[in-house]
């Protein structure tokens, strides 16, 4: 018994320490505790799936194995997230980080750990537009689109429908305010008129006062940036009741069956945006994950893609040093090259090793634009006969 115990202890020590001297370590910095703790396990599992896939292939830089090291970014506590990231970099010696989860802590980790240490970080889920302009020395990327992108898509849709004047109402929190701001700048920039922008609080029974203000300002459609089971629904109800607006523009938080269940054909002709893609990558990841985790969960696919991009960039650069491979992230993510879907990482590694080019598509149809963030794929949906229908891709 004792013998076995000692053997296993020695085994563990060996396997975690010495035996892996030339292993590549990737930090998985997710909000395992805090407000998104229910989502974090799937996001982390997505990232780790890509890592084990690459490791098992034995083709990274001539046969390095890859190990994932977890850290807790807490989603809300910047100091704790910074400490966790610091530990990953200095004590565990990770080559790059897949994380962090929420916009606030991601910014903190970027400033306090990523920049001083010169480590590449790819976030699967931070969406604040502020990160697009943050100083990052080319080290920070994200596979999630910025909300600025959605604002742009919304402005484009309105433009293509020839709507030149809208009223805006947004739910009074970071999401609502952020998206409302980015939409406003995109739409005004394209020459559209925003008659007024009124915030609404969730959880009230009556939104007739807010709607009265919006109606007085006027506009062809009402842009409702909110939640479909909360204030957003109340605003639409009040607008329909007193005939203030008949058509609505509905961004991601408002598109769902419960809205059409509630209003049915009353909101025919309303339209909106929903994140998503026709790319087969998402289903391929689900098949790959099987029952081990929920690959269709929010940002699990983006996390798989973040890990994959890190490792493919290393292969492309022929180095695990961030300073060397940071410029290769966009190269492997975008065209030209062979399209790579989840489960095909071994093939991608081989192409890169042979000097070929790849265009990583992955689970979330990655296309990195501007400051190294996902361009974001959105469906344009429209309510027809009381149900949401896809009408276009953006």
């Amino acid at each position: 018994m004792m013998k076995k115990f000692i053997c296993s202890v020695v085994g563990i020590v060996l396997s975690s320490g010495f035996a892996m001297a030339d292993d590549v370590k990737i930090g998985i910095l997710m909000g395992f505790t805090g407000p998104i703790e229910s989502l974090a396990p799937d996001i982390a599992a997505g990232g780790e799936l890509a890592i084990s896939e690459v490791s098992d292939s034995g083709m990274l830089l001539g046969g390095h194995s890859v190990v994932a090291v977890r850290g807790d970014s807490t989603c809300v506590d910047a100091a704790a997230a910074t400490a966790a990231a610091e530990r990953l970099v200095t004590s565990d010696g990770v080559a790059a980080i897949n994380g962090a989860n929420c916009s606030g802590v991601t910014t903190a980790v970027l400033n306090n750990v990523v920049l001083p240490n010169g480590i590449v970080m790819i976030s699967p889920s931070a969406t604040t537009p502020a990160l697009s302009t943050a100083e990052d020395n080319g080290l920070f990327f994200r596979t999630a689109p910025s909300d600025a992108r959605q604002g742009q898509v919304m402005a484009n849709i309105l433009g293509s429908r020839g709507i030149t004047s809208v009223a805006v109402t947004y739910t009074n929190n970071d999401y609502g305010k952020g998206l409302a701001d980015s939409f406003q700048s995109a739409y005004s920039g394209a020459g559209g008129e925003i008659t007024t922008s009124v915030s609404h609080e969730d959880g009230k029974a009556d939104y007739s006062a807010e709607v009265a203000t919006l109606a007085s300002a006027g506009g062809e459609v009402l842009v409702v940036i909110g939640y479909l089971d909360q204030g957003g629904k109340g605003v639409i109800q009040a607008s329909l009741d007193n005939g203030a607006f008949e058509a609505f523009m509905l961004p991601d938080g408002m598109v769902g069956e419960s809205l059409t269940d509630a209003f049915g054909t009353d909101i025919n002709g309303s339209f909106g945006t929903r994140p998503g893609t026709d790319s087969p990558g998402a289903t391929m990841l689900s098949d790959l994950a099987g029952s081990s985790f929920k690959a269709s969960g929010p940002y699990a696919g983006e996390s798989y893609d973040a890990s994959a991009l890190i490792l493919l960039a290393m292969q492309s650069a022929g180095s695990t040093n961030s300073a060397d491979f940071k410029s290769h992230v966009e190269k492997v993510a975008n065209a030209p090259g062979e399209k790579i879907y989840p489960g095909e990482l071994a093939k991608a590694l081989k192409i890169l090793a042979d000097g070929g080019e790849i265009d990583y598509v992955g689970a979330s149809a990655v296309e990195l634009i501007g400051p190294g963030e996902s361009s974001g794929s959105y469906f344009e949906v429209e309510v027809k006969k009381g149900t949401f229908e896809k009408v276009a891709n953006h």
Binding site: G203, A212, T213, N242, G243, A262
Partner: protein, 336 residues
């Protein structure tokens, strides 16, 4: 034509919603006032009693709908009301027996009563959420509109529509009927007269053989009827959500105090003062002025005095002003 448009616009966005809201507040404030007059304390649990009564009405409504009983164009909830009222009366009398009576026998001060009622409020709120859940429920069925905005536009040829919901008409009618009933009861019946005597001078009333337990019970029954009615009407007009009744507490109290607490006429008056102030001060008059102004002149801004975010602050401000300048309220009531 522009003048008519302005009037219709004003009716649609200010007059009709404010009058409905005023009627809802008035019914709530009547309940507060009845308890204050007899038991001399501010009953913070009143809004949760509204929620409780409305919830029971909702349960009964679902039952009636499931067996296929409908009230035609009217909401089914009206048929279910008696059940809700009985349940609310049972709840009110139970709290009176188990909680308030203890403090009444001890002749506790009114501030003690008020704090006790806060405790009762939390228990009732928890019970309600436990039974129906915190989510939003739709109460209204039947014919939703008396006049639809679109139909009104087509009928009159005006640019502005006027929408009147069935529930709005029911609310105002019920408020008038209930206020009438309350006055008849307080001033014409023997029990009502006994209640008024008890509230004017408790000792003298006891000497003339009035049973205090009976008076108190009647006061709770009246409060429960008013609470269920106002809770159900509010739920019909907006939607039923357990959390919003706590938010209603402030404007209801403001209505009762502004009108003069303990005065039924004051409660009704106060309800409309608060409702009209909230709506009139937060409405954006841009379109209204555009219709009335000569030519094509258009005001630059929205002409909005206060953002709608400050709606509840208005009840606070009116409350403070009234307590500073005329603490007894518009119609001289008792001091809090």
């Amino acid at each position: 034509m522009d003048f008519l448009n302005a009037i219709v616009l004003f009716c649609n966005f200010v007059l009709v919603p404010a009058t409905t809201y005023g009627a809802q507040l008035a019914l709530g404030a009547l309940g507060i006032t009845v308890i204050y007059r007899i038991l001399r304390f501010a009953n913070f649990a009143h809004s949760e009693l509204m929620s409780w009564g409305a919830m029971l009405t909702l349960f009964m409504t679902w039952y009636l709908q499931s067996v296929g009983i409908h009230a035609g164009p009217l909401p089914t909830a009206l048929l279910a009301l008696p059940v809700g009222i009985l349940g609310a009366i049972a709840m009110a009398l139970t709290t009176e027996r188990t909680v308030y009576r203890f403090y009444r026998k001890q002749r506790a001060s009114s501030i003690t009563f008020a704090i006790v009622s806060v405790g009762v409020m939390f228990v009732m709120a928890g019970l309600t959420r436990f039974m129906i859940g915190p989510g939003e429920q739709v109460m209204a069925d039947g014919q939703r509109f008396l006049i639809k905005a679109v139909e009104f536009k087509r009928m009159t040829g005006l640019d502005e529509g006027l929408a009147i919901k069935t529930t709005q008409v029911i609310t105002i009618a019920a408020a008038i009927a209930m206020a009438g009933f309350l006055f008849w009861f307080l001033y014409r019946t023997r029990s009502g007269k006994a209640m008024r005597a008890f509230s004017d001078n408790e000792d003298l009333a006891l000497l003339s053989g009035i049973n205090p337990d009976r008076i108190v019970a009647i006061a709770w029954i009246l409060a429960a009827i008013l609470a269920t009615l106002s809770g159900t009407l509010y739920g019909l007009d907006k939607s039923y959500k357990p959390f919003v009744f706590m938010q209603l507490l402030l404007p209801i109290f403001a209505s009762a105090i502004v009108g003069g607490i303990g005065q039924p006429v004051g409660a009704i008056l106060g309800g409309f003062v608060i409702a009209y102030s909230e709506v009139l001060l937060t409405y954006a008059y841009r379109k209204f002025v555009t219709y009335l102004a000569p030519g094509d002149w258009k005001p630059e801004g929205l002409l909005q005095l206060l953002s709608t975010d400050y709606k509840f602050a208005i009840s606070f401000i009116i409350l403070v002003i009234v307590l500073l300048i005329r603490p007894t309220g518009i119609i001289r009531g008792k001091l809090l």
